[in-house]
Symmetry: C2
Subunit: 181 residues, 2 copies
């Protein structure tokens, strides 16, 4: 069985600064029709930055959609024509002031492909050097250094609730703590 | 510094079957104003179901927002007044026909809290019994059983691109393969 849904028509609902929303009418594999509500979002980058003492550098940031101040790894939207790695370096520097001597791509993934096209590129940064942060004018956050082992526990205690941070910390924890690499 | 953004006004942009979209005008911590584009989405459940041979049961499903057929763990939206665990059991049974003798909550998380309020409850299911799937009428998917160790590798080969599946498989892999539990 072919699973692809072909687009019969597409209607733009909203074009904002961050998201676009459209409703597509599609032909289902059995020939019937349905609609799909789709949120278009630019690709994003996120960075698990781990210093020589095995602290993860995180930021506390208010997230209006969930009305909570969340603990997250540094992240942001990739700028137009920007390479993901360049975006990751820029976001890490802007939010924390950090530069890293070693960069490594962990993976990329879709955050919620049932309704959104947002793709996230996740990096690990090591050999860190501290510097000055330089936030966007509508961006307010607090930096927190958290031991990797504690950050891993915080996931299961419901203190880290952000998907990209969970994936990154899971990966770093097993790489550094369990495999000794 | 208080990081909370207070709502000054809120405008509904779109009310669909799956998502609602609104734009909030907010007061920033420094007193300036900004807008936040927010997608409201019902909470969802996802299940890492692992059989006695340590296969993960996954589904291949076409995802219109990304125009790809993705390999994902069984998942779906929680129905009104439904308990998350009941939703997880229902979705697993509908999509794969499986019943499980042992259920365990792994964690819950926000899939992309920068623009959406979607929360995902992630469960592990074991002691599986096979049965008949019963899909929604606009749902088409193919079931695939994948050895856990292979599923873990597929994450880093870019063959599993879905966030909830990555979190669940990483967790199961380390629990069962690395800690022998």
């Amino acid at each position: 069985m072919e699973l692809t849904e072909n687009t019969l028509s597409s209607k733009e609902i909203f074009k904002g600064k961050i998201i676009k929303v459209r409703v597509d009418k599609v032909a289902l594999p059995d020939g019937n029709e349905s609609t799909r509500e789709i949120v278009e979002h630019a690709d994003a980058v996120a960075v698990v930055a781990i210093d020589d003492d095995e602290n993860v550098w995180m930021v506390r940031q208010y997230r209006k959609p969930v009305e909570l101040t969340l603990l997250e790894i540094p992240a942001g939207i990739i700028e137009e024509n920007e390479d993901p790695l360049a975006g990751a370096k820029r976001e890490l520097a802007e939010e924390t002031g950090l530069r890293a001597g070693h960069w490594e791509k962990i993976l990329s993934y879709y955050s919620s492909p049932g309704f959104s096209d947002e793709m996230l590129y996740l990096y690990m940064a090591r050999n860190l050097t501290e510097g000055e942060a330089s936030l966007d004018k509508d961006e307010f956050l607090k930096i927190e250094k958290i031991p990797l082992e504690k950050a891993y526990r915080l996931i299961f205690e419901g203190k880290i609730l952000d998907g990209k941070s969970i994936i990154g910390i899971q990966h770093a924890y097993f790489r550094l703590k369990k495999q000794g690499g």
